[in-house]
């Protein structure tokens, strides 16, 4: 089937620049303009903006902790909109089905769940199987697991550690590796209440820094495209910019992705001892070409924080809004689910909001800064259109800032920043750069051979309106959204890295599980034959 998308302003930072042109889709791929072929269907995109499908590299959309949040907060998501029989559960608020639909409506076609505990991997994949339309990937969380920490204590080789990491990623079918407060969750089990980069995990005698370095090396050795995805120590604490700066140094020039850095951009100035240090952090990121970051922007309204950083979540539970939380000491990381309500009138929340925008605007290279709210931790992903509008308009930012406590402007540099994102930069940050970071060669661009994941937007001056309801969205060449409405479900793929490793480690792991967990390791493994029939895995090429 040949589809003609006619006359849109196509924004493709990878190969096509920004110009009015036609696109052609043959089945699930973009193709060059065919000669002497009749098209099967045509869509007029005159006056519209055309981009590749959006890619979200960090959004907590599935897994045991997300599900606990659903169960903890029924009052957060009442719904009263009937679903059509063609789209069952699509109006069920906060269901996996609604998640897939809402992302598609905004023109996003690939989303990464960034916190999959190995022992809850099956759960995460089952939820993703019920998340329609979009393609998904997961990051396997390591760095608080007894097996790894014991390897480090015993001084095992980098290749042995790489084998272990490879086996964990393979068994869980992850797309990459995430480390969350390296050693911190384990230290919390020994009653540590704070844990920094050079603190030592009790019992194991290894530092957080050593864990990060080992995992960074293993990911590199395994040739997993996405660099180690790091949730640093000391999230959310005044003065934690020093931790972020030290962590950038600790990367030693090797590739490292730092997650939701807004939560690490805090200084200690002012009478409240809380200020924005975003400018310092942005300067360091600008200088460290090996580092990529996503922001984790705060937007205002009720939400819930869901994190495997159980130490941080316990400390944060005293500020829960409403006052209830779940603290889970799981195998390895566990997790904490703490509801929160970010308020415009709250000095601290408003500074957090400003910190995120400063980082977006002061980090110069839109190939190295990624668009996230750390859904749902900074805000639900449904706030993306409003956030894009803020990035594209200095006046809009000034309007918002004027409604906040005056002291907020004094503690940040936001008011002085003139930069406004262009549509080209938005396309880079939300399409081209994420595809490059994750190693997805056929996504994030609109050149021939690319997967036909395409978003077509009305070119409204109101950018929030433009990005909230796409005019058309194609997934694999299949029109799934028209005028902001999902037309039908289709099953997305699950992307996985499948690294190569010495499988001898598996016998050792089997014995370890029998002894330590008193259960076969296979109990936790993600086998396609026990997942719904609609699940399709797609292997992402390893780095050369």
């Amino acid at each position: 089937m040949l589809t003609w998308l006619r006359g849109g302003r196509v924004i493709d930072p990878v190969g096509g620049g920004n110009r009015v042109r036609d696109l052609f889709i043959e089945d699930d791929r973009i193709v060059a303009e065919p000669l002497r072929r009749a098209v099967d269907q045509a869509y007029d995109a005159t006056g519209k903006v055309v981009m590749a499908g959006g890619i979200d590299i960090h959004s907590h959309i599935a897994g045991g902790n997300v599900n606990t949040a659903r169960l903890l907060l029924p009052e957060l998501h009442p719904g009263q909109t009937p679903s059509s029989s063609k789209l069952p559960f699509s109006s069920a608020r906060w269901s996996t089905f609604e998640t897939g639909c809402l992302y598609a409506k905004m023109g996003f076609t690939t989303v990464v769940e960034p916190a999959m505990s190995p022992h809850h991997a099956l759960h995460a994949h089952l939820e993703l199987a019920d998340t329609p339309i979009i393609d998904k990937g997961t990051l396997t969380v390591l760095g608080n697991d007894d097996f790894l920490l014991s390897m480090l204590r015993q001084g095992e080789s980098a290749s042995a550690i790489a084998d272990y990491v490879g086996a964990a990623v393979a068994a869980t079918r992850g797309l990459g590796v995430k480390c969350i407060n390296a050693g911190g969750a384990t230290a919390f089990k020994y009653n540590a209440r704070a844990f920094s980069l050079d603190d030592v995990v009790p019992h194991y005698g290894v530092t957080s820094r050593a864990i990060v370095e080992a995992l960074q090396q293993a990911v590199s050795d395994l040739k997993i495209p996405h660099p180690l995805h790091l949730h640093m120590n000391n999230l959310g604490i005044a003065g934690n910019v020093e931790t972020a700066l030290a962590t950038i140094d600790a990367a030693r020039g090797l590739p490292l992705h730092l997650a939701h850095v807004q939560f690490y951009a805090y200084g200690t100035e002012g009478k409240r001892g809380f200020s924005s240090a975003a400018a310092r952090l942005a300067e360091a990121v600008n200088a460290a070409k090996n580092v990529t970051v996503d922001i984790g922007q705060v937007m205002f309204g009720p939400t819930v924080t869901v994190s495997l950083d159980v130490l941080r979540q316990y400390n944060g539970s005293r500020n829960a809004r409403p006052n209830k939380s779940v603290i889970f000491d799981g195998d390895a990381n566990g997790g904490g689910i703490v509801p929160y309500d970010y308020r415009r009138s709250d000095f601290y929340n408003a500074v957090q909001w400003a910190c995120g925008l400063e980082l977006f605007l002061l980090i110069e290279d839109s190939w190295r800064v990624f668009f996230t709210t750390d859904h749902p931790n900074g805000a639900p992903f449904t706030t993306y259109p409003d956030l894009l509008a803020l990035l594209m308009s200095r006046d809009l930012r000034a309007e918002w800032l004027a409604e906040m406590p005056r002291s907020v402007a004094e503690m940040t540099t936001l008011g002085a920043i003139a930069r406004e994102y262009t549509l080209d930069e938005i396309a880079t940050m939300t399409r081209a750069a994420p595809a490059k970071l994750l190693g997805l060669a056929d996504r994030g661009h609109l050149g021939p051979g690319a997967r036909a994941d395409i978003a077509v937007y009305d070119d409204h001056m109101d950018r929030a309106r433009m990005f909230r309801d796409a005019h058309l969205v194609f997934k694999d060449g299949d029109l799934v959204v028209r005028d902001g409405g999902v037309t039908h479900y289709r099953a997305g793929r699950t992307l996985e890295a499948r690294p190569l490793f010495d499988r001898a480690i598996e016998r050792r792991l089997d014995a370890y599980y029998d002894e330590v967990y008193r259960a076969p390791r296979d109990l936790f493994a993600v086998h396609p034959d026990i997942l719904p029939r609609t699940v399709r895995f797609e292997q992402v090429g390893l780095r050369q």
Partner: protein
């Protein structure tokens, strides 16, 4: 599939005839209740999908106990630890209530109560404390150090008093005062403590008091809790329903969007009140929930029930024997995979439910 797998009112049916009969019964109903017992994730998904298609209600046979826990969580919060972590770390375990090993026969082994914690900083035997439940569980009596004997009815008062002792609040004079103070002191000495309780022995307020005790203890040391409640079956249904609909079971679909109401959508109440006019029971383990035989029942079960109220009986396979799949394991506190071991040819709950759905609205394929 074995020949004697499906019946209606004593008459042998093929699977196609049986699913036709079930679909006809459902299509004619005004309010169908889907009551899930032991069922894997795939079967639960299929049941929830079918319930939405007919505007029915989804509930689970052990949900009354599960909601006692869930209500505490969503009004107050929870501290939870996996049995694996408890076995490896806990230097102090407080056992609360009766019937713990009856509810969880492997509890002593899974929690390693007679072993040294593998990941403790200083090797030492676990300190086992007991509050109530002294008359049963002789194995626990052998392991326990301090025991405060009590009937279940006395537990709410004792738990409140123990929490008060822990907080150095004055205690009304009572026979257990000294013992409670001693126990509170032992809890404070823990490096990683775990409170293990039987929700069957406790009401919601008492469970909340225990979680509050854990919260208080966490201010200075580490503490968490394990509930020896329902089997993993309730949790399989709770989890699956949560991601599909946003809500746990006791959710109805009559208005074409999920509504959650633990009272309104309680299967027992709906049947007793006459609001429900069809019941689908699903259990891949032997035994069906006992309910008043007032309405026609479609039974998808691992054995023939022999009940007179069952209009359509379809024998389904067992997870881990006839088919593979996923369910929630209490031992790991997670969803785990099971492989088929010796298939006898019975279909899975999911495949039967999908066939019924297909007969009700052909072509409405699952996404």
């Amino acid at each position: 599939m074995p020949q004697d797998a499906c019946f209606t009112e004593g008459r042998l049916l093929s699977l196609a005839e049986a699913t036709d009969a079930a679909a006809g019964l459902l299509a004619a109903s005004r309010l169908a209740v889907f009551l899930i017992g032991a069922c894997d994730v795939a079967g639960t998904r299929a049941a929830i999908r079918l319930a939405t298609r007919v505007g029915g209600v989804i509930d689970q046979s052990e949900s009354t106990g599960a909601f006692r826990e869930l209500d505490v969580m969503r009004s107050f919060g929870r501290f939870i630890v996996t049995p694996n972590e408890a076995r490896q770390r806990a230097d102090t375990v407080l056992l609360v209530g009766s019937g713990l090993t009856k509810l969880w026969p492997d509890m002593i082994e899974r929690l390693g109560l007679a072993e040294l914690p593998r990941l403790g900083l200083a090797p030492q035997r676990r300190r086992i404390l007991r509050l109530g439940g002294s008359a049963d569980d002789p194995d626990l009596s052998t392991l326990a150090g301090q025991t405060i004997a009590a009937q279940d009815e006395a537990l709410p008062t004792l738990i409140a008093a123990l929490r008060a002792c822990n907080a150095h609040r004055p205690l009304a004079r009572s026979a257990d005062g000294d013992a409670l103070n001693t126990m509170a002191e032992a809890l404070k000495q823990a490096k990683f403590g775990v409170i293990v309780y039987s929700p069957a022995s406790l009401d919601a307020l008492a469970i909340e008091m225990l979680v509050g005790l854990a919260a208080d203890l966490n201010k200075a040391t580490r503490f968490s809790t394990i509930s020896v409640g329902a089997s993993g079956n309730a949790e399989t249904a709770m989890q699956t329903c949560a991601w599909m609909t946003g809500f746990p079971v006791r959710t109805g679909f009559g208005r074409l969007y999920p509504e959650h109401d633990p009272w309104r959508f309680d299967a027992s109440r709906l049947i007793a009140s006459g609001e429900a006019d069809a019941l689908i029971c699903i259990s891949s383990e032997p035994g069906l929930p006992v309910l008043p035989p007032r309405i026609p029942v479609v039974a998808l079960s691992a054995e023939q029930s022999g009940r007179t109220d069952v209009k359509v009986q379809i024998t389904i396979g067992r997870l881990g024997r006839d088919h593979g799949g996923v369910d929630f394991a209490r031992e790991t506190q997670s969803l785990v995979g099971r492989r088929a071991s010796a298939a006898a040819g019975f279909p899975s709950a999911a495949s039967v439910l999908e066939q019924i759905a297909e007969r009700i609205s052909p072509g409405a394929a699952a996404c």
